[in-house]
Symmetry: C2
Subunit: 547 residues, 2 copies
């Protein structure tokens, strides 16, 4: 195991989050014991390893001395640890590589940008010295969006935006707030909360990701069913490109030709660096009500969620687990052996069958709105035969909702892989995608190893929803990356062949690029490339990503 | 006056709508008498004119005979009346020109496209023969979006899409419907109504405009506050360009780079021809409730509307007239002199002051939703001191809501100009725009002639709303076009200087193009042009529009 000092504000470069914080030890143990039984292991595999100080052979920087001289006073650092941390994101593939110290591309330096105005000069110098620039927010991406690949062996400079994080303007009348792009989730939300507002945007990475990262990747938060994805919340934005700046018009809506804003949202650093965004904000909810419970089947739950959305009710959270993810949650949540043993009796008493599906619905807003929405939600749950639990489980879910990524580290410590993959599709396609995925993985029609497979539905719309898949199993020793690639390919092909989108909120980056033509059509890709040629004619920005 | 035969299915090429239908004669007379008094005219000016058969000197077609031979069997017509009808839209400027037979650019021919598959060959031939193509839906645009301007004197072929109008797919589960682009509003809505659904998209032009036109111009319907603008309703679309076809992925949402869909929506025929779109549809509302009434001031109404939106209530219609538009409506609606005389007493009794503002709010959806929303709306109206009228006025409004454009013809017949112009802006900017506009026109700080000025607020969002301005007055004889240009310039400058958008739902076309750099930034324009070069490298499509 990597020796860990309890420095709470230092990031864990080889895993999730901050040093000094981990997944609940009892729950992690309970889940690992469950996996041990499932795989009939006499003992847990041991992947602990000690990283020596010299484990990472980080090459000398290739940044030209002249460039270093010019920028060292403006936020540039060549510190090895900084370079390491900024060389990877937080995907399973990233963690595999960092844990084994097999990193093929290192950042040659990290620029902690001190002020937006420096960007113009930075682009000029980058062009002059042929330096590749990789915009970087919280570094929590899971699709290789900040992979440090240069062009023709050019030096790679990671541009970290986190020092650019001020509130620029708050318009209480229009309920909008303009923030600089490098602001982290908690600071943004706290700033708004103090003024009586919320953005309502809580991606799993909330604690460590930035506004700019959200906008650049079309991120979705756990409460997106009410508040929308980040592209719905951005009223306007500013991007600084190598050939100039664009600030889109800050208006609620317009009919002025193609939307420049929707070209720049999701641009993942290939067109320029997003420096600020004006966001639609909401009054802090007066009330919030949770309704957790179980449906007899995934199908019942899907029908219920669909009907809620199509009648126009807008809960903030609607999350439905399939039977196997439900089982996983029970194994993680119920650390008491007694409760675990009693659970099947409760299920039987509630007539939930042998494949119950856990759900969590939250409604929030004004007291009147919550009263109305909560009543509608409960009406629909009953209509589809769901059983409701007490709301306290909801408070618990809310408290722990950013914890799950930490569990991945415990699993990897003990020789398990765990990867997730998500899509969105019309309601009419969701079950087909789900069953084809289960067929490929559970029935081993595609992937031939025994795995733990789970799925949940969330982020609902009138015309469809997102499906989020979890794949967990024993690492294929010595072939860990190959195993990951196989899973990625099989799962993504199932999605693409069944009318799903390549990604609902993870983005494209490097890992999804090979499917982009299928997603966007070949001509669509040419359109995206033509914009790239216009805004970044010298190809300085984030090469090899998206298109 | 143009001699009019009562052919109800023939379009009125010199005015609005169909021959055989006009604005209510009593109401038109009542309003004209009001204008006569307002301008202290001893008699109404007389702009009647008779158009002789040979009034329009339509030049010989410039389409090459070889091209004509190839396409005459595939929907091409060189008929003069068809060419005339397809040479203009329906703006005041268009009507001025058609009524005076001063049309500088005529379509050289009209192709009633018979099948989408012909487009590929059409582009090939257009390239070969250097023919300019102008996509055309209902021809109801008001910004010169189909102005028949060629490139370097090239022949201009208008491509009318109205024969491509089938329902391709209905997905009752996902609640989406895929239609071909040439379908007219009433047929689309009837098709959906028969299956229990509605698109909920009712622009003023509804009866005569097409789905493709709506999508190409980012149109908004009167019920957009609940159902969204057309860009919110399009789940995906197909465009056929000179270099190939793009069908965007039909999913509820995605994080797959920049949105190609939002590049093509609003492209106004400069990138290609939209051939079909998959639309989000809604169940036919179980119930609909109207609440008409008056506020004491425009400001009270704005505050009320804002609070309704920001607490999350979503009426379908929210429309608020300023005092002068309210006065106009009263003059038009109350044909009985007695009622007209009693009106001020009722206003006094209701303590509405001397500048009351008419409003109309509609809620619709499930019975439960309407019960909730209607109660919230009424609560807010009371909070802001509004007086409510009986709902019957709402039914009347709904019945007559597509009638108003006909009145323009009566006004033009009698020597008046009438033009409208719209924007959208954050709530915090709306009053500033309104007062600056009133200052420019009512106080004659900008426009020096005495006019009748009106404004209403509609199409509401959490962060702002649309303002719609009406300018009405005596035509400046012999300088009608110059007068129109002056108004357009003064009004648009007021909008652009105060943080409004160049257009909320009319589009850009030819008339708004000069302000596009201000709206999109110079670099934004370059982005739009780079896409044009990619999709239409030979510049065949709708030149001189948008960018």
């Amino acid at each position: 195991m990597i020796k860990e000092q309890k420095k709470s504000r230092e990031v864990r470069f080889w895993g999730w989050g901050m040093l000094g914080h981990s997944f609940d030890k009892d729950k992690a143990r309970a889940f690992l014991e469950y996996l041990q039984k499932y795989y009939r292991l006499s003992e847990l595999p041991d992947s602990f390893f000690e990283l020596e100080d010299d484990a990472y052979v980080i090459p000398e920087t290739r940044l030209p001395p002249k460039f270093v001289d010019r920028w060292i006073k403006k936020g540039l650092t060549l510190d090895n640890k900084e370079r390491l941390i900024h060389s990877l994101g937080k995907s399973y593939r990233d963690l595999l590589r960092v844990r084994s110290a097999r990193i093929s591309h290192y950042a040659d330096g990290v620029l902690h940008l001190l002020k937006k105005e420096d960007l113009t000069e930075l682009y000029k110098d980058a062009g002059h010295f042929h330096i590749t620039l990789i915009p970087f927010g919280g570094g929590t991406g899971v699709v290789g969006g900040t992979e440090c690949i240069g062009v023709k062996n050019s030096p790679v400079l990671v541009v970290d935006l986190k020092k650019i994080d001020a509130l620029l303007q708050l318009d209480k009348t229009a309920q909008t707030a303009r923030f600089e792009a490098g602001i982290l989730g908690p600071k943004l939300e706290e700033t708004l909360n103090n003024k009586g507002f919320t953005l309502g945007h809580f991606p799993q990475s909330f604690e460590f990701s930035t506004l700019g990262g959200w906008v650049a990747t079309r991120s979705a938060g756990q409460n997106s069913t009410k508040y929308g994805k980040i592209e719905d919340r951005v009223q306007s934005l500013t991007i600084v490109t190598p050939v100039g700046q664009i600030t889109t018009n800050a208006v609620p809506s317009s009919a002025t030709g193609p939307s420049i804003k929707q070209i720049l949202i999701g641009s993942e650093g290939i067109y320029g660096i997003i420096t600020d965004a004006t966001l639609r904000i909401s009054p802090l909810p007066e009330d919030q009500k949770f309704v957790p419970g179980f449906f007899k089947s995934f199908k019942d739950g899907i029908h219920c969620f669909r009907e809620v959305m199509q009648e126009g009710t807008r809960p903030s959270v609607m999350r439905l687990s399939d039977p196997s993810e439900t089982e996983m949650f029970i194994q993680i949540a119920l650390t008491s052996p007694l409760k675990k043993r009693l659970m099947p009796y409760w299920m039987k008493y509630k007539k939930l069958g042998d494949a119950p599906c856990f759900f969590m619905i939250a409604t929030e807003g004004s007291r009147d709105e919550v009263r109305y929405s909560d009543a509608r939600v409960k009406h629909m749950i009953k209509k589809y035969g769901g059983a409701m639990l007490g709301p306290s489980l909801g408070d618990k879910w809310k408290k722990d909702r950013f914890e799950l990524p930490y569990l991945r580290d415990d699993l990897m410590d003990h020789g398990f892989f765990i990867d997730t993959l998500e899509t969105a599709a019309p309601w009419s396609q969701l079950q087909k995608i789900y069953f084809d995925m289960a067929d490929a993985f559970v029935n081993q029609r595609g992937f031939k190893e025994k795995i733990v497979f789970g799925c949940h539905l969330s982020h609902c719309y009138s015309d469809g929803a997102s499906l989020y898949f979890t794949f967990l199993g024993l690492q294929r020793k010595g072939q860990e990356l190959k195993q990951w690639e196989e899973i990625k390919k099989i799962a993504t092909d199932v999605i693409m062949e069944n009318g799903g989108t390549l990604s609902h909120h993870h983005g494209i980056g490097y890992d999804h690029k090979r499917w982009m033509e299928q997603e966007k059509t070949p001509l669509g890709i040419e359109v995206l490339k033509s914009i790239k040629r216009e805004l970044d004619p010298d190809g300085l920005l984030n090469p090899g990503k998206v298109v």
